[in-house]
């Protein structure tokens, strides 16, 4: 397998994607909702809540956490601690939900799309190895999701610092665990999901079936992501590194299996019997 040739496939798909508003607009909207609108509203509520019931309740929830988790929540007032909890822990899964949703939407259509449009026939007759096609599709689906996450992360950091930074003594975000989350944990989660989705996309008969398969894969991963990232409060840095390491191992094992599963004849469209 040649990385250079896989990159040709990826560039080709990315080029198509940039010319397709039908794809780009929903992706931008989705990233904006999760990285901008929800944080803006939630953190705005916390920053203005002062000594309200909401803050008291969040304080009560925090006190029910193990001491080690309580120690990791910064802030000298209940309001500041609530703001820190929201910004650093409760909204952290967003960092995984957004790229997963975007990448899986692109990945699910990757192979079946070529098959339905007939471009799969061109790829099937081309000198490309099936693994090069597979990895090309994977890269092409990975990049938009991950880029949206990086961009969203920057915007999110601005929102957090401007909305609640004052409560915590100035700009405090990104925290170390968020850097690790974005740079170390998110990529293997996307790769794992894409590996399975592309594998399924090469097997199903239609785009709707590929979307169904994609949902079946993505939903459990999102639920899992919520669980692990919310649990980062227990041991933020070591926890994030550990979760990332496990995710990388699983993702690479999945890739090893799924990249070999693409059969050239599955790229051919209907009418193969003529």
């Amino acid at each position: 397998m040649s990385i250079r040739r896989a990159w040709i496939v990826a560039r080709l798909d990315l080029h198509r994607l940039t010319r397709s508003k039908d794809y780009l607009v929903p992706l931008v909207i989705l990233a904006s909702i999760f990285f901008v609108i929800i944080p803006w509203v939630m953190l705005g509520i916390v920053s203005r809540a002062g000594g309200s019931d909401l803050i008291q309740r969040i304080g009560g929830v925090l006190q029910s956490l193990p001491q080690i988790a309580q120690d990791n929540v910064k802030g000298s007032t209940p309001q500041a601690r609530a703001a820190y909890t929201f910004a650093v822990y409760l909204l952290a899964p967003v960092a995984i939900v957004v790229p997963l949703t975007i990448s899986s939407a692109i990945g699910a259509y990757g192979l079946i799309g070529d098959r339905e449009k007939g471009t799969g026939e061109y790829l099937a007759h081309s000198p490309l190895h099936t693994s090069e096609i597979f990895y090309g599709k994977l890269i092409a689906a990975f990049i938009p999701g991950y880029l949206a996450t990086i961009a969203g992360f920057g915007v999110y950091a601005l929102i957090v610092n401007t909305r609640v930074g004052g409560l915590l003594g100035g700009w405090f975000f990104p925290t170390p665990e968020w850097w690790i989350l974005i740079l170390w944990v998110v990529p293997p989660f996307i790769i794992f999901s894409l590996g399975v989705i592309l594998w399924a996309s090469g097997r199903v008969q239609s785009a709707p079936a590929a979307q169904q398969a994609s949902t079946l894969v993505t939903l459990p991963v999102i639920v899992m992501a919520y669980g692990v990232t919310s649990g980062l409060a227990l041991d933020p840095v070591r926890g994030a590194i550990g979760i990332g390491a496990v995710a990388w191992v699983v993702a690479l094992l999945v890739l090893r299996f799924t990249s070999r599963g693409l059969k050239r004849e599955r790229l051919l469209g209907t009418g193969s019997q003529n």
């Binding site: 560039r11 080029h15 198509r16 026939e121 007759h125 003529n274």
Partner: protein, 306 residues
Amino acid sequence: MIEPAIKFDDVSKSFGDTLAVDALTLTIPRGSVTVFLGPNGAGKTTTVRLTTGALVPDVGEITVLGLSSIADGHEVRKICGVVPPNPAFFDQLSGIDNLKYAAEIAKAPKRAIAPAAERFGITDALHRRVDGYSTGMRTRLALARAVLHDPEILLLDEPTAGLDPESSRAVLGLIREMAGKGQTIVMCTHLLHEAEGIADVVVLMGSGQARAVGNPHDLMASYASEKCVAIDAVDRSELAILANMPGVLAVNGDGPVKVTVEDMSIVPDLVKSLVDKGVDITRVEPHTPTLEYLYFEMQSALGDQL
């Protein structure tokens, strides 16, 4: 002995219960133009797909210039150019972008793009998005894409379907040009008249098998061996008397009649008899069967095998 370009050795391929290619054994000579004729479902497209290794046969072996289409599929696809039926493109991109990516994938030099586009008359449309192309332009672009890397073997599956006469001529010109350079061309077609004059080998496909294989001349001798002459006259109704003349086996046709005779040596006598009877003859020429005629004669001879 002529070196084979493609060899099918007892190749079968089925899709579920449908046997698309059935024990196909066939040798396509190097440097030849081989035309696959046959109705829909005859196995022509599957045969093309098996050749490049895009499909894997259930049984049998295919070799392309000595390379196995399965074990050496990667190498085989490097030396093949394929124009599939209804060629598809990355429609959001322009024609030039499609060709640039194709050149990269096939490891063809970028300088090959302009001559290929010019050859098929799509230079002016290259910077437009492909989803705005007509059927003919798409086929031209597919042809340009297929020849970018100067393939040794060109597989054309219904290449002239939907093309205007000018584009069809360009396709046939390409075939002649490539054959002249010693390249091997395999063409599947329904348009028999377009294969006329370019086919070195004709393969009549039916039910996944090669029912008849040979050069057009030999096939004519086998399946269209009648001795015929075409005769025309100022008053065509007067030609009806031919039917009662000695040595005439059949008279067919409403315009210039096709006269089937026992032996071509009687033709001068027929003409003399007609003149003697006052028929004003305007034309007498040997009837040369067309490929289309041959196809239907073969179909008639092979009947339900197709």
